[in-house]
């Protein structure tokens, strides 16, 4: 889908969140000269074409009691990356699974996963069992628990 100038205006209006009112789409549309039906149609098209991955409540794990949040990075041989990425991506408690570039010599890890949990011990147990998957044999990894949160908000595109 090719985004129009008006789509970008719409994105700018909704990226910070929909208003909490009876007719949120009408309210958003009124600010940029679209009617309710047009707003719903354009958002629907953005969802169908994959520009928008999901629409809904964006929760903050930390405030929900999920305070043990680990980024686990794996050093996966390039020819095994797809198999490993797909295997890990299917694990229910992994919320993100991305390939990113190695930056040698400091950073040999090329697969990034996020695991959220309420207790550190349980997260470590989950990671330990993931590392026992047949696809993971011989793959080294590192666990980086999160500490202080200095900033968190949705991306803003200007």
């Amino acid at each position: 889908m090719v985004l129009t100038e008006q789509d970008y205006q719409l994105i700018a209006e909704i990226q910070g969140g929909l208003p909490l009112s009876s007719h949120p789409y009408a309210e958003v549309g009124a600010r940029i000269g679209l009617d309710e039906g047009e707003v719903i149609e354009r958002i629907g098209l953005m969802q169908e074409s994959g520009v928008i991955k999901r629409m809904g409540l964006v929760v903050r794990h930390h405030e929900l009691g999920y305070k043990a949040n680990a980024m686990v990075v794996w050093d996966v041989p390039d020819n095994e990356l797809d198999a490993v990425g797909e295997a890990l991506g299917e694990e229910p408690c992994i919320t993100l699974c991305y390939q990113r570039p190695r930056r040698l010599p400091e950073w040999p890890y090329n697969l990034f996963t996020m695991i959220h949990g309420k207790e550190r011990k349980r997260v470590l147990d989950t990671i330990e069992s993931l590392s026992q998957l047949p696809e993971m044999e011989g793959i080294s990894y590192k666990v980086l628990f999160s500490g202080r949160r200095f900033k968190q908000r949705g991306a803003r595109y200007q």
Partner: protein
């Protein structure tokens, strides 16, 4: 949290209704009133449990972004984190337990602007950064199951 709040959080991280009165439609599904749904959502936003109700964009479709890591001496960490936070292009910024202890996401409208911001950050803080853009996504973000 009560059952209604839990159901809202579990069932509406995706599939938020694209209908004229979405909150009323959610209320009907959950067997309650629109007023109560709005009241709960507003409270959860105030508490910070919900950061917003809206779209999550697919990376790389609108603008460009990258994950950045920095190794900062512990006693400098807060000051550097603050310098990084001052960039409007930064939307997440966390401490992590590693030599690379500062992790943040930088988002910009195009590549050139992104590179400019990264170079400026290195110059301003005096620390090198690891630029780790997304290359491939293996898991679609459908929200977070609260039973993990």
């Amino acid at each position: 949290m009560n059952d209604l709040e839990k159901r809202l959080l579990n069932e509406y991280q995706k599939g938020f209704p694209l209908t004229p009165s979405p909150y009323a439609d959610i209320a009907t599904k959950l067997g309650t009133s629109e007023a109560l749904v709005l009241q709960i959502l507003s409270r959860l936003q105030e508490l910070g449990v919900i950061s917003r109700i809206g779209p999550v964009f697919k990376p790389k479709r609108v603008g460009v972004s990258t994950l950045v890591a920095m190794a900062v001496p512990e006693e400098q960490l807060e000051a550097v984190a603050e310098q990084i936070n001052n960039y409007t292009e930064v939307n997440h910024n966390y401490e992590r337990e590693d030599r690379y202890n500062l992790w943040f996401v930088v988002t910009a409208s195009d590549k050139t602007h992104l590179q400019t911001v990264l170079a400026e950050m290195e110059h301003q803080t005096g620390y090198n950064l690891l630029n780790l853009p997304l290359e491939k996504q293996f898991h679609i973000d459908l929200g977070f199951p609260l039973w993990c």
